[in-house]
């Protein structure tokens, strides 16, 4: 199955389309660069922004290096605690990407499993799962995420709160978004269920599961791949929004949204670099992901063009 996936992706047509779309190429290159830079952060960042002992107030509020008073190695300046902005962005990007990726992965696996289950089992299981989905979709996404994040933080003892901040965010973002995948897979599973090969598999006592998975997943791969890519961008945005609102990552382990929230307090003090660079970084990531997703949708679904 994995092989067929790769071969589908590498299909001549898709690659050809990719090469014809400069926006997709630039986005992919940029994303790759950001990925590498942020995951190599411990090696290339001038400072470990999570190490409290490394922060020195004497180096606080330095402007970017090209301005007067800027100082090496603080390329993009420092914040009010003496935290290097570039290092904070690199580490923050890593957190944002991990949370975005993990929440898509989680919602994807939950969505696929429950969708298959609902479609295959039918009956009351299907009914219950789909009702739960309806309920989740009847509340705004951002509201569910805020509530889960806020409730979970309040329910935890203070010591665990910061340690578990990232997993909480992953769940908060994944919970409202699995329904979409589940619905797609369920529809496909219901069609396949009635087909003869499944009936035949039952007769010869082979688990129909495996066969179904092998048939259903490739059928639904295209819409799910597109949705997952776009949801990746959405998840990063959601994480940033939650952190900006103060129910996300804590200030001593800042994600991009936290950095913007903190920097926002100094917007009018002339310390523009504390808020501007993280904001630009966030926009660049989401824009690249969305450009890729947009291209992927058009390329995989020629009818839309």
């Amino acid at each position: 199955m994995a092989a067929s996936l790769v071969s589908r992706l590498a299909e001549h047509e898709l690659w050809w389309s990719f090469k014809r779309h400069p926006s997709a190429m630039i986005a992919a290159a940029l994303l790759l660069l950001l990925f590498i830079a942020s995951f190599a952060a411990p090696l290339i960042a001038p400072q470990n922004p999570y190490d409290l002992a490394a922060l020195d107030l004497d180096n606080s509020e330095l402007p970017p290096i090209w301005q007067s008073y800027g100082a090496w190695p603080y390329l993009l300046g420092t914040d009010v605690q003496g935290r290097d902005v570039l290092s904070a962005i690199l580490y923050g990007t890593r957190i944002s990407l991990i949370i975005g990726f993990a929440s898509v992965l989680l919602s994807l696996s939950v969505g696929l499993t429950l969708g298959l289950l609902a479609g295959y089992a039918g009956g009351w299981i299907d009914n219950v799962l789909m009702r739960v989905g309806d309920i989740l979709l009847s509340m705004p996404f951002i509201l569910i995420a805020i509530l889960i994040s806020a409730v979970a933080r309040e329910a935890l003892p203070p010591g665990l709160r910061d340690t578990l901040a990232a997993p909480i965010l992953v769940i908060a973002i994944a919970v409202p978004s699995w329904v979409q995948y589940a619905r797609t897979v369920r529809a496909s599973a219901m069609v396949e269920k009635g087909k003869e090969y499944v009936q035949a598999a039952r007769l010869i006592k082979v688990r129909p599961w495996r066969i179904m998975i092998n048939h259903i997943l490739p059928n639904t791969l295209t819409p799910i791949l597109v949705a997952a890519t776009l949801n990746f961008g959405l998840a990063i945005l959601s994480e940033a929004t939650l952190s900006f609102l103060g129910v996300g990552m804590p200030p001593d382990e800042p994600s991009l949204g936290t950095l913007i929230r903190i920097g926002n307090q100094f917007l009018f003090s002339g310390l523009w670099w504390i808020v501007l660079f993280p904001a630009v970084q966030l926009c660049l990531i989401v824009l690249s992901v969305n450009l890729l997703g947009d291209w992927l949708r058009d390329a995989l679904n020629p009818k839309l063009r």
Binding site: M130, S138, V151, L234, L237, F244, A279, C283, L287, L304
Partner: protein, 334 residues
């Protein structure tokens, strides 16, 4: 038809019961309300007495039923923070959020529809490509970043528009409106712009897709062949066919806009329900959180049900379809 109506209503009621259950769970799991109400000198006996008086010692189901009964009567209790009736508090804030969402919706239609038509009619032209790219940029910019930038440019640097609040308002009955004062209108500009950005791109993309579909139909081809001016064909005949989906989307998105307004309201200190909610979250003011969740979900469910019923009226084939609620899946973000 009646059966369909009843079914939809029952479905909506079921969803609201489940939302109420969630709200109630939050109510129960969020710390100990007694600790937040009493002052620090209160003795154990006083605390126990208050717990009994609040009914916190009753069984789970009893408490849930009481919560639902009270909620049905619009009684969500007293805000821990403001010590005011929660429904009154939310009612006071509702007009601010509603006006913000209303203006943002208008902007999204007035700007989004023409852009959608242009990108469809001139597809593959540099203008259309640029607009398409612009729409992706539009969905990629976090609305709080947009808000901060708008304040920086138009309030701080240029000093043209206010940075926070609603300006002066006029009361019409219980409804306080900012439409009739100059400062009220000025205060609306930046928040509604930043809220509408995401919605503009949604409308634009929908109009474009629908237009492309319509332009392929024989009806349009025939109109063109008849020699009608292209401008009239595109902007009158083709566009008319796209309006129904746009209106549907707009209707269903209002619930999302109300929810998403909480980000805009936080950035612009806009005294609406969303800011109330965010402050309630930081202050662990649970009655307000529960009431807000119920109210927004109610608006959401109501709009969805109205859209479904309208569609069923227009197209009877949909009446026995089980799952018409799909459109809300692709509708969050920004």
């Amino acid at each position: 038809m009646l059966a369909f109506l009843i079914k939809r209503a029952a479905n909506a009621a079921l969803v609201m019961l489940a939302v109420a259950f969630l709200a109630f769970l939050i109510f129960r799991s969020f710390g100990d309300p007694v600790e937040m109400m009493v002052n620090e000198q209160a003795t154990q006996a006083e605390r126990a007495e208050l717990r009994e008086r609040l009914g916190l010692n009753d069984g789970f189901l009893v408490q849930y039923l009481r919560f639902v009964t009270n909620a049905l009567q619009g009684d969500f209790g007293i805000s821990y923070r403001n010590q005011q009736d929660v429904m009154v508090l939310i009612g006071e804030r509702f007009p601010a959020t509603f006006e913000l969402v209303l203006v943002a919706t208008m902007i999204s239609l007035v700007v989004g529809i023409p852009l959608g038509v242009i990108t469809a009619v001139h597809r593959d032209s540099p203008i259309a490509d640029g607009l398409q790219l612009g729409s992706i940029v539009g969905v990629s910019l976090p609305s709080f970043v947009v808000g901060i930038l708008l304040i920086l440019v138009f309030s701080v640097t240029l000093g043209w528009l206010p940075a926070f609040g609603r300006g002066d308002t006029v009361d019409i009955g219980w409804w306080s409106t900012g439409f009739f004062t100059e400062s009220g209108r000025a205060a609306l500009v930046l928040p509604s712009l930043s809220l509408s950005l995401f919605q503009i791109t949604l409308v634009m993309r929908l109009v474009r897709a629908e237009m492309l579909e319509t332009l392929r139909t024989d009806f349009i081809k025939f109109s063109r062949a008849r020699g009608l001016p292209l401008r009239i064909v595109h902007w009158r005949h083709a566009l008319r066919n796209c309006l129904m989906p746009v209106i549907t989307l707009t209707g269903m998105q209002i619930g999302n806009l109300i929810a998403f307004a909480l980000v805009t309201e936080t950035v612009f200190q806009w005294p609406g329900m969303g800011m109330l909610f965010i402050q309630a979250v930081t202050f662990v003011d649970i009655p307000v959180m529960a009431a807000y969740l119920m109210l927004v979900s109610f608006i959401f469910v109501l709009l969805n049900t109205i859209v479904d019923v309208t569609y069923a009226l227009v197209d009877p084939r949909l009446r026995d379809d089980a799952a018409p609620a799909a459109a809300s899946g692709a509708s969050s973000g920004g």
